[in-house]
Symmetry: D2
Subunit: 394 residues, 4 copies
Amino acid sequence: MDFKIKSTTQEKLNSINQFLHQEVYPIENLFLHHQWQELFPALEKLREKVKKLGLWAPHMPTSTGGTFTSLVDLALIGEVLGQSPLGHFIFGCQAPDAGNAELLHMFGTDEQKAHWLTPLVAGNIRSCFAMTEPHTAGSNPTLLDSTADLKNGMWHINGRKWFTTAAEGADFTIAMVVTDKNAAKHQRASMIIVPTNTKGFEIIRNISVMGAEGKGYFSHAEVQFNNCIVPEKNIIGKTGSGFALAQERLGPGRIQHCMRWLGIGERSINISKKFLNQRKISSTQVLAQQPLMQAQISDSLAELAAARLLVLQTAWSIEQHGFQASKNMVSLIKFHTANVVQRVVDRSLQSLGGLGMTDDTVLSFFYREERAARIYDGADEVHRIVAAKNFLKK
Amino acid sequence: MDFKIKSTTQEKLNSINQFLHQEVYPIENLFLHHQWQELFPALEKLREKVKKLGLWAPHMPTSTGGTFTSLVDLALIGEVLGQSPLGHFIFGCQAPDAGNAELLHMFGTDEQKAHWLTPLVAGNIRSCFAMTEPHTAGSNPTLLDSTADLKNGMWHINGRKWFTTAAEGADFTIAMVVTDKNAAKHQRASMIIVPTNTKGFEIIRNISVMGAEGKGYFSHAEVQFNNCIVPEKNIIGKTGSGFALAQERLGPGRIQHCMRWLGIGERSINISKKFLNQRKISSTQVLAQQPLMQAQISDSLAELAAARLLVLQTAWSIEQHGFQASKNMVSLIKFHTANVVQRVVDRSLQSLGGLGMTDDTVLSFFYREERAARIYDGADEVHRIVAAKNFLKK
Amino acid sequence: MDFKIKSTTQEKLNSINQFLHQEVYPIENLFLHHQWQELFPALEKLREKVKKLGLWAPHMPTSTGGTFTSLVDLALIGEVLGQSPLGHFIFGCQAPDAGNAELLHMFGTDEQKAHWLTPLVAGNIRSCFAMTEPHTAGSNPTLLDSTADLKNGMWHINGRKWFTTAAEGADFTIAMVVTDKNAAKHQRASMIIVPTNTKGFEIIRNISVMGAEGKGYFSHAEVQFNNCIVPEKNIIGKTGSGFALAQERLGPGRIQHCMRWLGIGERSINISKKFLNQRKISSTQVLAQQPLMQAQISDSLAELAAARLLVLQTAWSIEQHGFQASKNMVSLIKFHTANVVQRVVDRSLQSLGGLGMTDDTVLSFFYREERAARIYDGADEVHRIVAAKNFLKK
Amino acid sequence: MDFKIKSTTQEKLNSINQFLHQEVYPIENLFLHHQWQELFPALEKLREKVKKLGLWAPHMPTSTGGTFTSLVDLALIGEVLGQSPLGHFIFGCQAPDAGNAELLHMFGTDEQKAHWLTPLVAGNIRSCFAMTEPHTAGSNPTLLDSTADLKNGMWHINGRKWFTTAAEGADFTIAMVVTDKNAAKHQRASMIIVPTNTKGFEIIRNISVMGAEGKGYFSHAEVQFNNCIVPEKNIIGKTGSGFALAQERLGPGRIQHCMRWLGIGERSINISKKFLNQRKISSTQVLAQQPLMQAQISDSLAELAAARLLVLQTAWSIEQHGFQASKNMVSLIKFHTANVVQRVVDRSLQSLGGLGMTDDTVLSFFYREERAARIYDGADEVHRIVAAKNFLKK
């Protein structure tokens, strides 16, 4: 066992961290007060700088325009980037584009790659992913309602999806739809590329989530497919491979989420630390000297540090033994990390008192936005049951 | 011991509950999507109905235009009203006006009552309360920074306050300011009425709290007193009585907060219950049949029911034995109830999956807004220490 | 609502509390160091004193030799007695005799009452209750394995039971056995009185529980029924009424358990309080001044006080509305109180440091013995599911 | 980063694990029913086997008779051994002998090594460690009461100690005593070797801990030093170096404790797993299929796996960077792991129902004995404050 981070990786992490402090944190204020129109140009500028620094798209191989080295390295990078809600976007590895790019890279045809993958990795277009449905339980794939019927070489797609993140402004979506109702449970669905300018594709609304509808990249749409017609070749992989692909997409994606959450936790503690050291509670004392504040900090430090190693071990395991062999670990880190980070953010917020409730720091954004971490990509309850079933039957 | 609610009270509670279902819940959607301009007229209409029903201002004696009967009754009413974020406002007993009215009723001069209390109870004007300061720790009163100097029969007030809830649109504020720096620790401050049209009174901003600045009644201002000059007679009670009055104001106010939070918890469970019974997780099962969902419901039911009785006992104790004798109980319920309700809301939100994150139900509002319950009116940490100190020294 | 305890009840509680301090706590040391032979005479002496004070058997009506007044009063008495592991025994209302006496009083024939009930209430004999089986899940009554076959007016009883508390030294057991395998699920079993000197009744062992086998009243036996033959008239109530009777027995019994646990919690906090005020942590400070110690005390105070009221409300509800109407509340208090008290004992033990681990105080006994509270009479998991199901279907 | 365990280490771990299953678990029953006289010969036999297998004393260098390779390897071995309460003793690396041997190895004179260390490592004698005092707070070293006065080349030792583990049967103790009251706070105390046959050394009692006094190695004594006189050369290291040595002793010792606790957690889950798969809850289902049981298993798996990596990283860090640089991590793992394991044991015990309370499995031993893990070697509260202070001042 060797817990040392490679020195080349460490240098890269240091550069990214420095970039965050110098370039990213200063524009968070723009973000926190929601002027997407003002924010976007600032993000674009930073994206150019990142490309020049050779740090762009750390999740994609160099052959596609990225700077990927290893899954563990990517995890470590994701942790640093996670410290800011803008980190991943500025470095070109933001969800859902990152997952879509990985899918297309692994399973797309050459034509699909040329048409969609290249500009996506380059950051010239955006995409979205339409899987979750408002009226069916995400935990049970056999209940999926949306359909694609193949007629004369064209898919006719119908259905309602929601939490289609970043649909506003996306050039295409990948739609998870039932292509064969009568197939075996996990072979009913397929993934199909649908350009957002397809007739019948409609954004019903940007869902108001935690008090805000969001705009552009920072939005979650409810979308309707009203007999959207796209060519047969727009399918990714084989007919019926939807769930298999979803697993491939979500597995490493969960590593990315977990590491991003850990970054959030670390940022939260650091904000708390700074405040505790500044806030006077008497003529001679600062809040950092209050034992209750100290104790909660230690709880957070220990939980974060432990969870972090488990996520890194999982990334390492996927690299060494493949996703199937690491599936159970992925379930464990998904729910465990989400809960750890929720607690850490909650404690940090509490330590700031009234300030924690405001948007004068990023904590309140973390608090409300990342509540979703325990829900998306498999709710706590699902992963807790799945992981235990596997363990118990061994 | 008798846990029975008086039948007259129970009938009143039933009426209020029915009113909420028929009149209030239907307009929550307006509220959740933040059109204050559209919302306000709807609220005004309902306020008129409440007055006609004889349910207006349940916290104030009939002599002042209210319908108060007892503190326990008020607590029970507050619980029902708490089920909607609009309940207290519609019934004319919303913070901070309610607390201000109680203060003026108990300690105001006849002139103050005529001028400020009467229209306030009638709902014709609004008010705010300026105590918390952005740069001093609320937990230590000796650190208060804002001042009022008496010169030629006029108070000259200077200082910065924040979390001055509902300042936008208020006709006056009650300002908690240092009137004698050299007095004993708890006799340094006084409360002074400052009309908001006083020269030098400035709303710096509506603080963005949990992603939204809010408007009108639903806002929290940062305010500046730039040498605001008001007559000497605007002081409430005696010079130096600020902390004593604050205790009087906050004590029963904490009962109101706790009961309101319990109402929030109950509403949350009911929303969860409805969803769990509707959401299919297979062709034959609904989510309500999932043991993990069941178990969390029971946790919430037990915690809420227990906390509720403790708050009611505290209200009863204040009535029987006075606030001083019940002070410790007030500290216990303040932090305990806030934590119980935070857990209940969190579990309920989780049970709805993605829907819980949206503003399609009121849960996400409760989740983010009521996070403050563990902070305002004495943070958890303060009450946990205060209550224990008293217990340990007995 | 009226939270006042009747003055006659309060006086009785004060007397009992004084008795505990003067007579019972001083002999706990005997108990903690396990000399049952030495302990028993001391207990007998105190039982005589209790009888003379007119406080004997507070759970049984005066007609049977007890001093019962109301279920709420009994609950309050049980709370005070619960402060010592010896309290209930000394006052003649210890499990399992108390439950057995209630059963016989309500459902026994005159002959059964004369023969078994009278000496039992008088404390002249002891009894036990054989329900739980080592190899079948207590949560599912249809799995019960032990049987009683009626042949020629005699029950032939066979089977293995365990956690037959206090079997050593008992004069009879009540056995819960299947009398009709083919009956409806909840009508398969009956309760039958089996004198312990019946041929074929065998105590296999006193189970070693948490490190100790125990002796006499303080033991939990594994017992075997090897074709024990008892007369048909030994059945309590009707054939097949076993589960109905068990509900009747366990319902109010759970109130008694909960109140006893609360007494344990209160004693624990008081032991902690005394230690914290004595233990020096520096030349000028005692441990009671440490904020982490203070905070945990407040958590315990709030949780206990809230849970206590919920149990009292449940007792009141059973009295007002009957057990069926209060069933759900009983489930809630059973698991909730058990968990609260476990946390309280754990925190108190922690506050004593190494001393908490020793048998120099009663805390370590509470810690290990009352771990069972979350298991017996329906494990947490069972009650959490049962209570939620009822709530969700309403 | 590389999470792979070296293949030679892995083979050793497999051998040890196999040994536990084949030789150690079968004699746990002897242990659980407390016949030290019967147990001891069985332990001696296994110790001989371990020596023959070349696995003896994994904490000590080969030069002293042990088989130490690296701190990470030792940690991994400690985890496997921790699965049985007998593991460490059988492999010759049990506390407090292990820590005493490490001390003597690092700081002892050649004479001390020849006389005490060699037979200690060989398992021919036992030792104990007298530091904690019944009447002074362990968290504050300046309060230490026991003294050693140097007169005519002899230490005159006086004082009372407790939790002197395994004093009964030990050949010597290391006593932590004040040698200079007036020295700086952390230079007041020294460690001195006191043979247990020294006149004036008295075992007052084996403290009854969690219901049992214990015997021989499995006991915790209260000891009195009544003017014990030992030669000046019996001091370990320099006068006044007591606290420095204690840090050296406790640092790596905490790694050992943590890994042992993790082994306890893993054993607990495995006992639970076995029971859940066997216990029928209906004609077709076993308890392993109950979602509440599944969920708790996953919580335990995740928490253990994460904590484990943090402990291993700490061991690695001590090896790479020394103890001083890793001190904060040691504080974090100490309290974090103890709490994780307490929760894991508690959940596992609960999953067994009544069986969990008995000594038919080792769970109830773990439950009561390891409650001390949150107290000894620095209580939770101490480590939570210490770790935070260091973090906050950086």
